[in-house]
């Protein structure tokens, strides 16, 4: 631990946000800027017979209107991950058009873009565009989509499957083990569709400058360089060096701002047509209709146990919706980010998962906080908890029985799972022990019993989880179908005065990189925190980058910066040695200066920096300057883990669930800033609670969304949740220089099953075994009522 690493340093970015000086995309105004509004399909599936823009074009302020019949109709945004069918057939990959051409395939799909002088004029004119639709039947449920005779999302293929996939041991072997198991627990459920709901809606400004034939795209993205690559090389075919992608402050992402959206490409195309900048910002209704959703798995799963409660086999079949088109990372989510986590924290010897991923007449589904891993944890933790109860075992005890024994990845090798991954390091029993202690588990059971006698329904639910962060290395993910590398870039520019600018390819949208990255740099260089500036979010400033998602920033982006710092110190030592007339190996570096061992002769980092840029008296053959850039491609994923416990009270009359306590003990490896890690856990946990109790996107049988506003989609509010009680253990990551694992998604991954387990625990004695999420008062009441009957 240094002066800054491991300390709860207050965030450098906060003052600008607290004084209203954040710079979000919608805050930017460019000279001559126009505004866009979209004409969107009111149907989930329809043929477009005709689009009449004549009246709209005459409306006041209208600059241009484009439809799928224009040149832009030839372009589409790409998918970044290929998962082929089990039989080797290539993944079915329809073009996701910038504007619908002939057919609309989901509610809200854009049919025309109207560009006008003001936003109001654009919206008014969009109302005047007449579209003649012929409504067609739609299918929104992924299991229904695979039934014989289901409406086809894309006519060119005989059924709706985009691909199917499996992982794990031989299915027949797993089935046999289940047949021979002492007890088999089976669950069928829906892991429901969620809307990510970053509070800042997506926003883009495209600006073509004819003078230097260059585009600038301001975008609320989590990964500006990736957007530039996808936009230039795949969507529009324009030269990458002619495009600058900028994303300053971004108001939350949660996965939904990773993807390359059609509007980014369309605005970039259109700005050159009209020769003026164009802004579009989604309103909340558009966000519900067009931001990629998360989850939406229809699941059937079995877990087999022996007499002692040891898991002997796990088998699952899932239908996972892709939506109408394949979004950027969509195919990876229910496969390589999901099935690969089926080992969980347990020694299960036989595992098999079959996934069918159909197209549906809905907005695309892609990564949403946790992305595949919350769905895996939900499956495992609901099964083990239910299994324990069915066998009359304690749900905590059964987990201890099944935990993988500790391994540090240094003295003991990593743990090879049945589902491809090798865990880096883990020590699982202590997190559950600690969480149980915090919850007062033993006493709670007594309290629960007493409460029941008085007609009160209390429940406790456990969940233990593992997640995989910092997805890597590039060669491995490439072999699994990724069409990109998954490294990160980090540049350290030391200025002549010894001040340091860091250019990272990671992107902060709430994570606090400007503080945590600076803590690392200031510590490693032994300089003041205010002498370090972190620069991100601009493709023309940072060399390259893969951006921020999958809890990768610190483990991958932070490690790239550390690599560059090591290079700075190596070169700095040569300059220092020259100045001190000593050999490099005779120098020590500490507290911002090189000292000749055993003497008080030293030279400061600032002096060395100045010498590097004013090299009058300088080592022979050494280049001037002191800046280094590095790419870091990790050796493996990182594997944080933890235990979550929820304590709930269910109202016997209304079915309303009150979350009384929520307890976590997480292990995210080494911690750079505990305050920020706690904050990530709090927020993640509440998002997971949202799925358990409140949230769900609902499409009706015609593909109309009936949860398309905050009046209809229940978001967690301050009075829905308690304070989150957190603690940590530390098992460092053995393969990155910081020993960090990542903390962004852990909360969301662990919390959902803990809450559902707690509610079911409160109602188990009534014969209730499962309730579909979200556990609204109506659903809980229905379950209680049905149990009584």
């Amino acid at each position: 631990m240094g002066k800054f690493i491991g300390k709860s340093i207050k965030r450098k970015e906060d003052v600008r946000f607290l004084t209203g000086k954040g710079k979000y995309t919608d805050d930017i105004k460019l000279p001559g800027m126009t505004h866009a509004a979209f004409v969107r399909s009111p149907y989930a599936h329809a043929k477009i017979n005709n689009i009449n823009t004549a009246e709209a074009l005459k409306a006041e302020g209208v600059v241009a209107i484009f439809t799928g019949q224009d040149e832009c109709g030839n372009y589409g945004v790409p998918c970044g991950w290929q998962v082929n069918f089990k039989n080797g057939e290539t993944m079915r990959e329809p073009q996701q058009p910038l504007l619908a051409k002939g057919v609309v395939r989901y509610l809200g799909e854009a049919v025309a873009i109207v560009i006008a002088e003001t936003l109001e004029q654009a919206r008014d004119a969009a109302e005047l565009v007449e579209v003649d639709y012929e409504e067609l039947p739609a299918v929104t449920n992924p299991k229904e989509a695979m039934k014989e005779g289901a409406p086809l999302v894309h006519d060119e293929w005989p059924d709706n499957a985009a691909f199917d996939w499996c992982i794990g041991n031989d299915r027949a072997e797993v089935e046999k083990a289940l047949e021979n198991a002492h007890h088999v627990t089976e669950l069928e459920y829906v892991n429901q569709r969620l809307a990510p709901n970053a509070i800042e809606p997506r926003s883009y400004i495209a600006d073509y400058n004819a003078a230097d034939d260059k585009w600038t795209l301001y975008t609320s993205t989590q990964n500006p360089h990736l957007i530039r690559l996808l936009l230039c090389a795949f969507a529009l075919g324009i030269p990458e060096h002619k495009v600058r992608v900028v994303s300053y402050d971004v108001g939350g992402g949660f996965g939904s701002k990773i993807f390359h959206y059609t509007q980014e490409a369309l605005l970039t195309w259109a700005t050159k047509q009209i020769g003026r900048p164009i802004k579009w910002t989604a309103d909340r209704s558009e966000a519900f209709l067009t931001d990629a959703h998360g989850r939406d798995h229809v699941v059937k799963a079995k877990m087999g146990f022996d007499k002692e409660g040891k898991i002997v086999a796990l088998l699952a079949d899932e239908y996972c919706a892709m939506g109408a088109y394949l979004s950027t990372f969509a195919p990876a989510i229910p496969t390589y980010l999901h099935g690969t986590l089926f080992q969980g924290l347990y020694t299960t010897p036989l595992i098999h998962l079959d996934v069918t991923a159909p197209f549906t007449h809905t907005v695309p589904v892609d990564a949403y906080r946790g992305a595949g891993r919350p769905e895996a944890t939900y499956l495992l933790e609901r099964l083990i908890e239910t299994g324990a109860k069915e066998m009359g075992m304690d749900p905590a005890e059964i987990r201890f029985k099944n935990f993988i024994p500790p391994f540090d990845g240094v003295n003991q090798p990593g743990y090879q799972t049945q589902v491809a991954l090798q865990y880096d390091s883990g020590n699982y029993a202590p997190v559950l022990k600690r969480a149980l202690e915090m919850a007062g588990y033993e006493d709670f059971r007594k309290e629960q019993e007493e409460a029941r006698k008085q007609g009160k329904l209390l429940g406790i639910g456990i969940s233990t989880y593992i997640e995989a962060c910092g997805i890597a290395p590039s060669a491995v993910v490439g072999a699994l179908g990724a069409r990109a590398g998954l490294y990160e870039a980090g540049e350290v520019r030391v200025q002549p005065t010894g001040k340091v600018s860091i250019y990272t390819g990671a992107h902060a949208h709430g994570q606090g990189h400007e503080t945590t990255f600076a803590q690392i740099v200031a510590d490693k260089l032994g300089i003041a925190l205010e002498d370090v500036e972190i620069i991100h979010g601009d493709s023309e400033r940072s060399a390259f980058g893969m951006g921020t998602y999958g809890s990768r920033s610190l483990a991958v982006g932070g490690s790239a910066i550390v690599k560059s710092i090591e290079k700075v110190l190596e070169k700095g030592a040569k300059i220092a040695a020259h100045k001190l007339e000593a050999a490099v190996e005779d120098l020590d570096y500490a507290d911002g200066k090189w000292t000749v061992k055993g003497t008080d002769k030293s030279v400061s980092f600032g002096d060395v920096a100045l010498t590097a840029y004013v090299p009058h008296d300088y080592p022979e053959g050494l280049e001037p300057g002191l800046d280094f850039s590095s790419f870091y491609d990790p050796a493996n994923f990182t594997y944080p883990f933890g235990a979550h416990i929820a304590i709930v009270e269910v109202c016997p009359d209304t079915g309303k669930v009150t979350l009384k306590r929520f307890i976590t003990c997480d292990d995210v490896g080494n911690v750079i800033n505990p305050m920020i890690v706690d904050g990530q856990v709090h927020g993640g946990v509440v998002q997971g609670i949202g799925q358990a109790l409140l949230e769900g996107v609902v499409y009706d049988e015609n593909g109309q969304m009936i949860s398309g506003s905050y009046m209809d989609y229940a978001m967690p509010r301050a009075d829905d949740v308690p304070m989150i009680e957190t603690d940590r253990t530390v098992t460092p990551c053995p393969h990155n220089p910081l020993g960090v694992k990542g903390a962004g998604e852990a909360g969301t991954i662990g919390s959902t099953p803990a809450v559902v387990n707690a509610v079911v625990d409160a109602l188990w004695h009534l014969g209730i075994r499962d309730i579909p999420m979200p556990l609204t008062p109506a659903r809980v009441w229905e379950a209680m009522n049905a149990a009584k009957a």
């Binding site: 004084t19 509070i199 506003s709 304070m723």
Partner: protein
């Protein structure tokens, strides 16, 4: 229509359309972009400002309704370089992450502590019902407001 408003102590007179919301007026006409828009149903609270001493969601106030009123936005809360105690408490207790809901949260907290200088945790949570935050899980926002109350009462 012409409206005259005092915003953060400065008077502005502008021509507006009758349908212009106060949010739009602040963001687009006065370039005070600290007031944010997160929804279209008056649910999220990101646009909260103080209008004649009371917190309002500025997306559901028309600029013409605010004619002759005094408005304080997030930009007008600090005194020079000195953050308001509530802003300071949010910084001190990590009451913000992405910062997008923050202006609305802070302005709501100003109103809440004016009305109830010694709120319980439950009262704070109830008072924040009209403001969404997707990042913090509200934990540190509640803590920030508790600490701000202590400071303001000291």
């Amino acid at each position: 229509m012409k409206v005259t408003l005092t915003v953060n102590g400065k008077q502005y007179s502008q021509e507006v359309e009758p349908r212009t919301s106060l949010t739009h007026f602040l963001r687009e006409m006065l370039n005070l972009t600290g007031t944010h828009i997160g929804c279209d149903t008056s649910s999220c609270g990101a646009c909260t400002v103080i209008l004649d001493g009371v917190a309002v969601k500025s997306c559901t106030v028309l600029a013409v309704q605010a004619d002759g009123c005094e408005v304080t936005t997030i930009e007008g809360l600090a005194e020079g370089d000195h953050l308001h105690p509530i802003q300071e408490a949010f910084r001190e207790h990590h009451g913000l992450q992405c910062g997008f809901c923050t202006p609305g949260m802070v302005m709501t907290a100003v109103d809440l502590l004016q009305k109830n200088p010694n709120p319980t945790e439950e009262e704070i949570r109830h008072g924040l019902e009209g403001n969404f935050c997707r990042c913090t899980g509200y934990h540190n926002i509640v803590k920030s407001i508790q600490h701000a109350a202590e400071k303001l009462n000291a």
